[in-house]
């Protein structure tokens, strides 16, 4: 669709564009974290590109990727005037999320402000130069970043103490008909078993 955007990026930034692919009409460029802001500036300012709409920003955790940066910052951009899209990725942080930092692009797109706060809150990526980098969804007392794969799935951090059964005088476990595994039955126990090409439900 917009392969020429990738060509322009590679022509301009060369080795800072680590890899590209354009499958099924989606064009993606993996950018070196150091070139992140310069690439964004170029995409915004170049008249042929003119990416004026920051669509989304999110973090994707790959805990097993030890060599190339564990946390992937993914940005989707769209140009309303030129009607083309691109997806940018940058890989930051090691296995312990050390050095998970990247330049803020709020000076280029003011709308990225809250999106960067969300990525910081959920994934723990710190944005250099962000005007107000604090949590946006979770509360300030919250420890850790819940969308990191290393965050335990069953860890909650209540703001007020839960009642105990002695205090309440009644059982507080899940009553019938709510099962102990109410919700997330597949998430906690793995996907349904498939034998000989047939699942249990067949």
């Amino acid at each position: 669709m917009s392969k020429f955007v990738l060509d322009k990026l590679q022509e301009r930034f060369g080795a800072a564009i680590l890899e590209t692919h354009s499958d099924f009409g989606d064009d993606t460029a993996v950018v070196a974290p150091k070139a992140w802001k310069a690439v964004c500036q170029f995409l915004r300012k170049d008249h042929a590109l003119d990416f004026d709409l920051p669509v989304d920003l999110c973090g994707v955790d790959y805990p097993n990727r030890v060599d190339a940066g564990r946390m992937e910052v993914v940005m989707h951009l769209y140009s309303i005037s030129k009607r083309h899209r691109i997806r940018l990725k940058a890989r930051v942080g090691d296995a312990e999320m050390e050095g998970a930092e990247i330049d803020s692009v709020t000076s280029i797109w003011p709308g990225m402000d809250w999106l960067e706060r969300e990525v910081f809150d959920m994934s723990g990526v710190r944005f250099r130069g962000h005007p107000d980098l604090r949590r946006i969804l979770m509360y300030p007392e919250f420890e850790g970043h819940p969308l990191q794969r290393t965050y335990p799935a069953d860890r909650t951090q209540p703001l007020i103490e839960y009642r105990t059964e002695e205090e309440a005088g009644v059982p507080l476990g899940k009553l019938e008909p709510f099962g102990p595994d109410e919700g997330m039955s597949f998430g906690r126990h793995g996907p349904p078993r498939v034998e000989n090409g047939r699942s249990e439900n067949d």
């Binding site: 909650t156 209540p158 703001l159 007020i160 839960y162 899940k174 906690r188």
Partner: protein, 217 residues
């Protein structure tokens, strides 16, 4: 005078005595259960069903529970409608603490009752983790009939002064009976081929419910 005396004796027909006895608790319970002033704490999609419930079609006024009070200090019944996140926990608890005794809490829907499928870092797994809860209504969202069941459970609880929490039982759980489940198979070339089978199952169901109107038993 004679007429008046006759009329008075007519109202006491069948009784030797001119008075009735009860306990103060029972009288108070009877009065309270028909004058529930509600505080709706609506946080999520169950709120849509709550609106349906409070519409004239289901006529909550039959139970004396139709008047909402948007101050916790004036209400007796806290409707917790929807998912309670960890961030809302302190707010909900504070609202509960501001209510005057006697007070009751009704958990509307699976999320308010047990957290539902939000079994994660941000959701409180049921209002009973932070405040005492009197009635749980499962359903995602519960049908208004189920909520009325829950309200009647609460009325019974108020009248009897019981402490146990009430849980509304599902009316019909198709998963209990495998023959009640219709499975779509790829072998069926035309989906309409399944219609006779579905009709047969529905007939059996209606028979099992004693041919009641709409199965409202």
């Amino acid at each position: 005078m004679g007429d008046l005396g006759q009329a008075t004796s007519l109202t006491l027909e069948g009784s030797e005595q001119g008075y009735a006895t009860t306990r103060v608790d029972d009288l108070l319970g009877w009065a309270r259960k028909y004058s529930l002033f509600a505080y709706p704490f609506v946080t999520a999609c169950c709120g849509m069903e709550f609106m349906a419930l409070t519409s004239p079609r289901f006529d909550l006024a039959r139970f004396g529970a139709e008047a909402p009070r948007f101050s916790p200090r004036q209400s007796d019944l806290l409707w917790v409608v929807g998912t309670i996140s960890q961030r809302q926990g302190p707010v909900l608890k504070r609202i509960y603490e501001q209510m005057m005794e006697p007070k009751w809490v009704l958990a509307f829907g699976t999320c308010a009752s047990s957290g539902g499928f939000y079994d994660n870092y941000t959701t409180i797994a049921g209002t009973d983790k932070i405040i005492p809860t009197d009635v749980y209504i499962p359903g995602c969202p519960p049908r208004p009939e189920a909520v009325l069941d829950g309200l009647m459970l609460l009325q019974d609880k108020i009248a009897s002064g019981g402490r146990r929490a009430g849980v509304v039982k599902p009316r019909f759980d198709p998963a209990q009976n495998a023959s009640g489940l219709v499975q779509l198979r790829k072998s069926a070339k035309d989906p309409r081929d399944l219609l006779p089978a579905i009709e047969k199952i529905e007939q059996g169901e209606r028979k099992a419910r004693g041919l009641g109107h709409g199965g409202q038993t």
